[in-house]
Symmetry: C2
Subunit: 129 residues, 2 copies
DNA sequence: CAGTATCCTTTCCGATACTG
DNA sequence: CAGTATCGGAAAGGATACTG
């Protein structure tokens, strides 16, 4: 447990440390729609292995972005949900998702989109005053 | 040059492929404020090496997010700037930066901030209605 | 100044087997 | 079902020396 006090040059770096990597944004994106069981996450995120999923979930938990809810029963049931703090990431994640979908469109030009309706009402991309 | 056509499950993944990793967002964050020379980027991003910087810039260029401007002169002068497409990332990057600064505040609680004045007019982190 | 070439370390991630 | 343990490979990144 040698929690080295790291100094960051910028907030961006601090944020990347929390939610960077190949999977964490994907996981959070799933949790935005609500509490999910481990197995649900696994199914929702094709390609991720049990080990990596658990690993990432632990990290997110450690940073108070998600909450782990253990239902003491056999067979085990564990759920994860965004903390209040984690919820502050929602706007960013939504935008990332939106941008990504548009990008797929741009690159593949076809109807690769999985856009939901509530994304169509475009929020202007510049910072609101 | 085997540009394998990759299939993405979601836009999020596609986006992470473009701007994920330890440095790319940092680089883009620098370019938001305008065209920059290689050496300026290097100074602005402590810790990055020449090799990695070039590498990341090439990737960003390949994906049409930044533009490389070569001034044919001795000594060489090269500048990078966001393309029009790259500019569509601005809102996301700004928010990431903002969130990150807030996070540093939350974690260190002190005046760790490197906040510029134009950041002090805090935008609420939840999606604006 | 900008970039390339090597080599090397570290980090991340996948496969698989196993436990309560 | 959720999670752990171990092994091994691939990829990202860092140190350093060198070039036009």
């Amino acid at each position: 447990m040698e929690q080295e006090l790291k100094r960051y040059e910028s907030g961006v770096q601090a944020m990347l440390e929390l939610v960077g990597g190949k999977w964490r944004i994907l996981i959070l994106h799933q949790l935005i729609t609500g509490k999910k069981r481990t197995s649900e996450l696994r199914r929702a995120i094709p390609g991720i292995t049990q080990k990596v999923l658990t690993q990432q979930l632990r990290d997110l938990e450690k940073n108070e972005i998600i909450h782990r809810i253990i239902h003491p029963q056999i067979p085990p049931k564990v759920e994860y949900e965004l903390t209040e703090y984690g919820l502050t990431l929602q706007a960013i994640i939504d935008r990332i998702c939106l941008w990504g979908e548009n990008h797929l469109d741009r690159v593949y030009g076809d109807k690769n989109k999985v856009l939901e309706n509530h994304f169509s009402e475009y929020i202007p991309l510049s910072t609101p005053n």
